[in-house]
């Protein structure tokens, strides 16, 4: 599995950020794997396991928590692994 980092962008934000190491994301291919609920040439909005996800072409993925419930480090890490694996398996990551 490729290298990626999971970071909590800030203490008061309810979400996690996944950064792929030196990799880009092909949004066209991503839209074939995940349901696109909005896109532009640089970002695709989607849902993954009930969470709102923004996937950026530069290799950054933001996952937002549901309501006031924090995602937390453990859940964030497992979501990140699943998401990156899914994208990798479907050759979405260049």
């Amino acid at each position: 599995m490729m290298d990626f980092f999971v970071v909590e962008p800030c203490t008061s934000s309810n979400g996690i950020e996944i950064k792929l190491k030196d990799k880009k994301i092909n949004l066209k291919k991503a839209a074939e794997v995940l349901p696109s609920i909005g896109d532009s040439p640089v970002v695709m909005l989607t849902k993954f396991e009930g969470y709102s996800v923004s996937i950026y072409a530069s290799g950054r993925i933001m996952v937002k928590g549901n309501g006031s419930k924090k995602i937390g480090a453990k859940k964030g890490s497992s979501l990140a692994k699943k998401l990156v694996l899914l994208l990798e398996k479907n050759s979405v990551i260049d």
Binding site: P9, C10, T11, S12, S13, S40, V42, V43, S54, Y56, A57, S58, R60, M62
Partner: protein, 225 residues
């Protein structure tokens, strides 16, 4: 009259003051909510020599308050977006940029301006500025509120009563800010920097200028520390 003179003639400054703004190095750390407006104001005042720092890229959640967050610049490094924006206002701009800023960064600043959103970066900037004997223009915004002050010799640590064994990450925030607050704080910071440069009155720490857009009396002054 050349293009520069014509562009900035309505600043109502004499030639020597305009030249001071043109040649001074304004260093801006952070190009988000407040930092973007600091940059925009300085460009409109005729600043032509800038150094900018930011490690981030523009994302959708920046759009409510960050003037450089546009569809065109989405997912672009903030420093690249800032350079592109600056060149649309003044193609002769001399601008250096980096995604990295810390206590070892070489500063060539006449004035150091704070567009950051966390206490750790603010503290590093304040300490570097004090060491180099240059002014540190503190600027902060949160929700509908904001604060501006220029630190020359007064210690930032004393102003905010930071403990010596500060666990900095406890103070880190990701503020929710409305655009008018970010814009006002950034504009005040830029204007204070120019006032300092031109030896006009400015708010000197430990004094600070505060505002809350949700209060009937929007502005007030307070003593920090």
């Amino acid at each position: 009259m050349d293009a520069y003179e014509e562009k900035f003639a309505r600043n109502m400054l004499n030639k020597s003051h305009q030249e001071k703004i043109r040649s001074a190095n304004f260093t801006i750390v952070g190009l988000g909510g407040t930092g973007g407006f600091i940059l925009e104001n300085l460009l409109r005042m005729g600043a032509e020599n800038l150094s900018i720092f930011d490690h981030d890229r523009f994302e959708l959640s920046n759009f409510n308050r960050q003037t450089l967050a546009t569809e065109e610049f989405l997912d672009m490094p903030k420093v690249h977006a800032a350079i592109a924006r600056a060149k649309t206002i003044n193609k002769n701009i001399k601008i250096t940029s980096s995604s990295h800023f810390d206590e070892n960064t070489q500063l060539n600043a006449t004035v150091l301006l704070d567009g950051t959103d966390n206490i750790k970066s603010k503290l590093v900037m304040a300490q570097m500025a004090r060491k180099k004997k240059i002014p540190y223009v503190f600027c902060s915004a949160l929700a509908s509120r904001g604060m501006v002050s220029i630190f020359t010799d007064y210690k930032f640590e004393d102003a905010f009563q930071l403990p010596k064994d500060l666990e900095l990450h406890h103070y880190q925030t990701c503020p929710s800010i409305i655009c008018p607050a970010a814009s006002l704080a950034g504009s005040l910071a830029a204007s204070q920097a120019v006032n300092f440069l031109l030896k006009k009155p400015f708010v000197k720490a430990p004094d600070a200028l505060l505002f809350d857009l949700d209060k009937p009396d929007i502005f007030w002054r307070a003593k920090l520390g």
